[in-house]
């Protein structure tokens, strides 16, 4: 399969536009992305029904990045991202039940309800969160890469960040160190063209994020094309293991507003959004490929979507049954080793606990 558009490069040769795949992978891309899409739409409804609280950032539109990246790497490799983390978690093998339970603050959540939407983790599969501070996950990701190198385990770390985060100073600090130390890290800029309500060109003098590493090579990738993402990530992993950091700019799009309080329509036109949906949607691209290669019928794909829908609904129903955390959980996990210290609740004469 050919990638949609050529890769743009900075200080490196581009990988081939021809990506290898097979029917199985194509169908699994379709299924996984459809699940992600459906999950995010469902989260939207749950939020509106007040079952999800606080900040909630949805990933619909950007699914190809999570899916393409996973296809190129293994669970030994590490991934770290920002607060828009539901689908990355799912991509790493997290379950719908864990997602919805966490979103609703239930025991069954991947963080037992203590983290919330922005703080998903699945460390046993190399997913290190779920971070709320814009840009912070980039040095953290370089630190994961440091550990891979220290442990000589031939794995790499992917640090995902937005176009808004791309201007953060700590990114440049961490990149310089990573380049000096040849850390096997891939900086993945998910350029969805807006940081909240700010268009990329209003936040960056140079919105060519794949070039912003200056002395570090970079690749611009169609982030709506899961195969381009897969190809780029494979290429980047090889590069990182051999020669240290590289930047991948993923040209992508978020359909939803920034978070649930943002209608997402004051700073961009409805035409822009529907244009992307019609011409670049990552799921539709896969659907077309599957149909073009006669790997499944339209009906079969619709059935997959129905199935996915059912799975999501079932997960939600089950998550709703998951109990709220026990009150005693207020005082667990403050430390790994609580040293038997007494910690206080709001009224220390009423609530105090010995830390485990």
């Amino acid at each position: 399969i050919e990638t949609s558009v050529p890769f743009a490069t900075h200080r490196c040769d581009p990988p081939s536009r021809t990506v290898e795949t097979n029917p199985q992978e194509l169908l699994s891309f379709f299924r996984v992305m459809a699940t992600m899409r459906r999950m995010e739409i469902a989260a939207d409804s749950l939020y509106k029904a007040k079952l999800i609280r606080g900040f909630c950032h949805l990933y619909d539109g950007q699914e190809a990045v999570a899916v393409g990246m996973e296809a190129a790497i293994t669970k030994k490799d590490s991934i770290i991202t920002a607060y828009r983390d539901h689908c990355t978690f799912l991509g790493r093998g997290g379950t719908l039940l864990e997602v919805f339970s966490e979103l609703m603050g239930r025991q069954g959540g991947c963080s037992k309800g203590k983290g919330g939407s922005m703080h998903f983790y699945k460390k046993d599969s190399g997913f290190y969160g779920g971070h709320g501070i814009v840009g912070a996950q980039v040095p953290l990701g370089c630190g994961l890469a440091f550990a891979h190198k220290y442990n000589k385990d031939d794995a790499v770390a992917f640090a995902l960040y937005g176009d808004g985060a791309a201007n953060q100073g700590q990114l440049f600090e961490a990149l310089n160190i990573s380049a000096l130390w040849d850390l096997p890290v891939i900086l993945v800029c998910e350029n969805n063209h807006y940081g909240m309500g700010t268009a990329e060109w209003r936040a960056a003098k140079s919105p060519a994020y794949y070039k912003r590493g200056d002395y570090v090579p970079g690749l611009k990738v169609d982030g709506m094309d899961a195969f381009a993402v897969k190809q780029a990530c494979k290429f980047a992993k090889e590069h990182a293991l051999k020669s240290g950091p590289i930047i991948l700019e993923m040209d992508t799009y978020r359909y939803h507003g920034h978070s649930m309080s943002d209608p997402g329509s004051t700073y961009r036109t409805r035409d822009e959004i529907s244009g992307v949906r019609q011409e670049r949607d990552p799921i539709e691209r896969i659907r077309k490929l599957i149909l073009a290669h006669d790997l499944a019928t339209e009906k079969e794909l619709k059935d997959i979507e129905k199935e996915v829908r059912k799975q999501v609904d079932e997960a939600i129903a089950e998550a709703k049954e998951s109990p709220m955390p026990e009150p005693s959980e207020l005082f667990t996990n403050v430390y790994v080793k609580g040293l038997g210290v007494e910690a206080y609740g709001a009224d220390r004469k009423e609530v105090r606990a010995v830390l485990p």
Partner: protein, 342 residues
């Protein structure tokens, strides 16, 4: 008038009164503010005076402080104060200390403002209260409004003040409506920095609080009143300078003190108030000072845990806090502590 409108009109009036005042921060302009505090100001004052920044707090805060060195009067919005940590070196080292280090050459007339502390369902990284960190630092003034009157009067005072002011708002108060007098609405209105306000007089117990907790303290006082206990509620308004005089005068009258805050307890605002009262009014205290504060844990997301993690009205109104037990425990603290071993 909502607190949001109070802040918005305060900004508007001070910008209109002084051309040196300008606003800077993430989404303050075209987006009208993440919490709409700066709504309409870009339209009114233009992009030279209302500046949307990239998400780079260290950079734009440093730029703000530098502009203040030169005599401008920046108002820097942090989308929330959690992100002020990215720029905290500029607040402490570049802003707070410069006037002193330069023996008065380098004044820094700047305001750092934004929502602080716990909101609702936003988890551990977005719920930190920074009152204590900033208030520990000489060179800064630290204000925390509760009502619309506070918001207007203190923000206007902060902008007019020649020193760096950290102005701690509360997201959950933005939408709350408070009655305001004509005086408060006058564009000349301004509140003194460093003075607390007695929101409700009382004689049996003093309750200190700031920001959202003032409302809780007032509700608790109502409940206590039903039990015949008359609570005096002090709205601190200013965390630095702390109005020791008002607090001590109140405690000397009521002989009992409960401090309330949403932040973490250790080295908290309550600890400082307790120490101040012990230093100045020890002989007047009929009972130990009670501290009500955020639970000493990172903020959990789940609604039930979150509720446990911040003070509720009943934590303040809980009757035993101020029941007449002082004589007893004076000689038998173990009894007082319900047998908990210490």
């Amino acid at each position: 008038m909502t607190v949001r409108d109070a802040l918005n009109t305060a900004l508007d009036e001070e910008m209109s009164a002084d051309p040196k005042v300008f606003l800077m921060g993430e989404e303050v302009g075209e987006y009208q503010g993440a919490y709409k505090i700066t709504k309409g100001l870009l339209d009114k004052y233009g992009p030279e005076r209302v500046l949307d920044t990239p998400i780079t707090e260290a950079g734009f805060t440093g730029i703000g402080v530098g502009a203040a060195y030169h005599g401008l009067k920046p108002v820097i919005e942090f989308m929330t104060f959690n992100f002020s940590m990215q720029a905290i070196d500029h607040i402490i080292n570049s802003a707070a200390k410069s006037n002193y280090m330069s023996a008065g050459q380098m004044s820094v007339p700047i305001v750092f403002r934004g929502p602080n502390g716990a909101a609702s369902g936003v988890g551990a990284q977005h719920s930190h209260c920074y009152a204590v960190w900033y208030a520990s630092c000489p060179g800064l003034k630290v204000l925390a409004p509760y009502s619309s009157e506070d918001a207007r009067g203190l923000l206007k005072a902060a902008i007019r003040d020649p020193d760096p002011v950290v102005f701690l708002e509360n997201e959950l108060l933005y939408g709350e409506t408070f009655p305001v007098s004509a005086e408060v609405l006058d564009s000349s209105f301004c509140l003194p920095i460093g003075k607390a306000k007695i929101e409700k007089e009382g004689k049996d117990v003093t309750i200190t609080a700031f920001s959202k907790m003032v409302g809780y303290a007032l509700k608790a006082a109502e409940i206590l009143a039903k039990d015949g206990i008359s609570a005096e509620v002090i709205n601190l308004r200013s965390i630095r300078p702390l109005d020791r005089n008002t607090i001590n005068a109140s405690v000397r009258k009521t002989n009992r003190l409960v401090t309330v805050e949403e932040g973490f307890p250790q080295h908290g605002v309550g600890a400082e108030i307790c120490a101040s009262v012990v230093e100045e009014s020890f002989g007047y205290l009929d009972a130990p000072v009670e501290r009500i504060a955020g639970a000493d844990v990172p903020m959990p997301y789940a609604a039930n845990l979150e509720r446990l993690a911040v003070p509720q009205v009943e934590d303040i109104s809980r009757n035993h806090l101020i029941s007449g037990i002082s004589e007893m425990y004076m000689w038998d603290p173990c009894y007082y502590w319900g047998g908990t071993a210490h």
